[in-house]
């Protein structure tokens, strides 16, 4: 997993994103100012010495936003930042899901519009490529499309709220019930009814733009078309789909949003989008967009694609007996100088015990050091030979055996 994380961060760095470290423990007030109090049950909380409440971060965009509005206040915008670290989520009710997971993300703060949107989507896709994933798909949508549809619907505010809640809860049965009960029928009405199925290629945009009458929804479609063009210019257009029915946190996202899926995972691998209101809550209003990659899920998918990765084998297990400890330690140091992975035993052993030990630690070679002059070299699967420790180094470093 560390290798994957390194590959992802190095891709982000190569796009000019600066690595920042944010705390895992934050003041509850700060997190709530960013995410709203609805997120409160998802946070693990504890109290500080003075009685104020702290919480473990459940995501890292808010801490980054706070950093931009705080310590990095005088840094000129746009800022390109990336981060990696654990997040802890208290799953309310439901199942005993893993509570700690690892997230990696990038944020582009201070740049509005489709050019920035396309940059972070392209970066997210290049990151998945860099991790070694072969088959994934990216769905791009727009938060304003739904907002526009809702605005275009001539209904009472409480009906609008009901539609919002039904969709946020992914309850299409309730949504249909509400729409059936409203007498009006309009293009917006029909689009909402088919909402989660509004997915496909570029043709979805054309079809939808012929139907919508609301200005906000129409503008969101234009922006999406522009993002698709730019993604093609970035060279990543192929695996991108349009998902106008994306259901996300409607209060948080303000523009282009996207999600990435693997073929056999029940959850999205990566999620992101534009959140232009967040920075303002920390006193430095600025447009922003970014994404998070769920590292554990990427690892799961890689395992599925190419099987479980074993640790690289040890090059040498160095055992010792009699007065062999000091020469064994010197031998270990020499092997490491040549870049080999070597383990020196912590207790003297007989040859039979040393063989069992070497097999147990999974080493290719076994060297049993008896004194400064005498050592027994047992190459993996080969015939054992009596050499001096210096000769063993020569053989192993020279690629012998």
């Amino acid at each position: 997993m560390r290798a994957t994380q390194e590959a992802l961060l190095s891709e982000m760095r190569s796009w000019g994103y600066r690595y920042v470290v944010t705390p895992t423990l934050e003041s509850l007030d700060v997190l709530e100012r960013g995410l709203g109090s609805a997120q409160r049950p998802r946070l693990f909380k504890l109290s500080d010495g003075d009685g104020s409440l702290l919480a473990l971060v459940a995501e890292r965009t808010v801490p980054v936003a706070r950093l931009v509005a705080g310590k990095l206040r005088s840094a000129p915008l746009p800022l390109r930042l990336c981060y990696a670290g654990p997040v802890l989520v208290n799953q309310a009710g439901g199942f005993q899901r893993r509570r700690e997971s690892h997230q990696l993300g990038a944020e582009l703060v201070g740049a509005p519009g489709p050019v920035a949107d396309a940059e972070v989507i392209a970066l997210a896709m290049r990151c998945l490529d860099a991790a070694g994933l072969r088959s994934y798909q990216i769905d791009v949508g727009h938060a304003e499309f739904f907002a526009g549809l809702l605005e275009g619907l001539a209904v009472a505010p409480e009906v609008r709220l009901g539609i919002r809640q039904a969709l946020a809860g992914r309850d299409l049965v309730a949504l249909e019930g509400i729409l059936d009960a409203t007498p009006l029928s309009s293009a917006e009405h029909e689009l909402l009814r088919r909402f989660p199925a509004l997915r496909g290629g570029r043709e979805i945009l054309d079809a939808a733009s012929k139907l919508v009458t609301n200005g906000r929804a129409a503008r969101s479609l234009e922006e999406l078309a522009r993002v698709l063009d730019l993604l093609a210019a970035h060279g990543v257009g192929g695996t991108v789909q349009v998902d106008l029915g994306a259901i996300r946190d409607f209060d948080y996202y303000t523009g282009v949003i996207f999600e990435g899926y693997g073929p056999d995972l029940g959850h999205p691998l990566t999620q992101g989008g534009r959140y232009d209101h967040l920075l303002g809550r920390f006193g430095r209003p600025a447009p922003a967009t970014g994404f998070v990659i769920h590292l554990d899920l990427v690892g799961e998918m890689l395992e599925g694609e190419r099987g479980r990765q074993h640790l690289p084998a040890l090059a040498a297990a160095v055992a010792w007996s009699e007065s062999g400890l000091a020469p064994a330690l010197r031998l270990g140091a020499s092997l490491r100088l040549f870049g080999m992975r070597a383990v020196v035993d912590t207790q003297p052993r007989s040859l039979a015990a040393a063989r069992r030990w070497a097999a147990g630690v999974g080493s290719r070679h076994l060297v049993l050091v008896e004194s400064a002059e005498r050592a027994l070299w047992v190459p993996g699967g080969g015939r054992s030979r009596r050499l001096s420790p210096q000769q063993v180094v020569g053989r192993l470093a020279g690629g012998g055996g």
Partner: protein
């Protein structure tokens, strides 16, 4: 191949019948009951406990599931609720012994002791009423609990009310009505969208 999770128990017969009638898959009760997992016509069907259907769907082990609304409310998650299949109609109710002095919520004591198989639903509903409760979680024969003095009332699912009447219990409050729903995993709806929507269309066509 897409995977559909079906619930054992009361909803199974009607689920199988609806699947057959809408041309999704023909499956005998004995066939699935014996094997628990059947692959046929490009569809894998698994048979699990009703309360486990949300878990199979949420984790993506099943792309689709048929399950009562009660189980969906008991186990909140990020799945899509696609269709009300109409059958398996029942209600989540509060019931007390016939001889009890309790009736509507206004007559309940400040701390109501209830037994239930649905602790989460119970907590949510009672919170909505502003009623403090002590929830005793049971796994079966909930009707017995108030009769032997374990609790004041039960929160349970009832279709006809027959079991309640047989145990001399009466309904004093209905929390919500339930019926069988078709649910989908959030990622499956994106990665296998056309397959899933095809099944949804067929089930809808043979609709309520």
């Amino acid at each position: 191949m897409i995977c559909l999770a079906l619930p054992t128990g009361a909803l199974l017969d009607e689920s199988l019948e609806r699947l057959a009638r809408s041309g999704v898959i023909e499956l005998g009760r004995d066939e699935i009951g014996r094997k628990l997992m059947v692959e046929k016509d490009g569809l894998r069907v698994v048979l699990v406990r009703p309360s486990d259907v949300p878990a199979y769907v949420d984790h993506g082990a099943a792309d689709l599931g048929i399950v009562g609304k009660d189980s969906l409310l008991e186990f909140p998650g990020s799945r899509y609720e696609l269709l009300d299949l109409g059958f398996g109609a029942c209600s989540m109710v509060v019931a007390v012994p016939e001889a009890s002095a309790l009736s509507g919520p206004e007559t309940w004591p400040p701390l109501l002791r209830v037994a239930t198989k649905y602790p989460h639903c119970t907590a949510v509903q009672m919170q909505g009423l502003g009623q403090t409760v002590e929830v005793v979680r049971l796994h079966g024969s909930v009707e017995l609990a108030p009769l032997v003095g374990l609790v004041d009332a039960i929160v349970d699912l009832t279709a006809s009310g027959r079991t309640l009447r047989a145990n001399r219990l009466r309904v004093v409050w209905t929390a919500f009505d339930s019926s069988a729903r078709l649910v989908a995993n959030q990622a499956s709806l994106k990665t296998r969208g056309s397959h899933l929507l095809d099944v949804v269309q067929r089930l809808r066509g043979e609709g309520a």
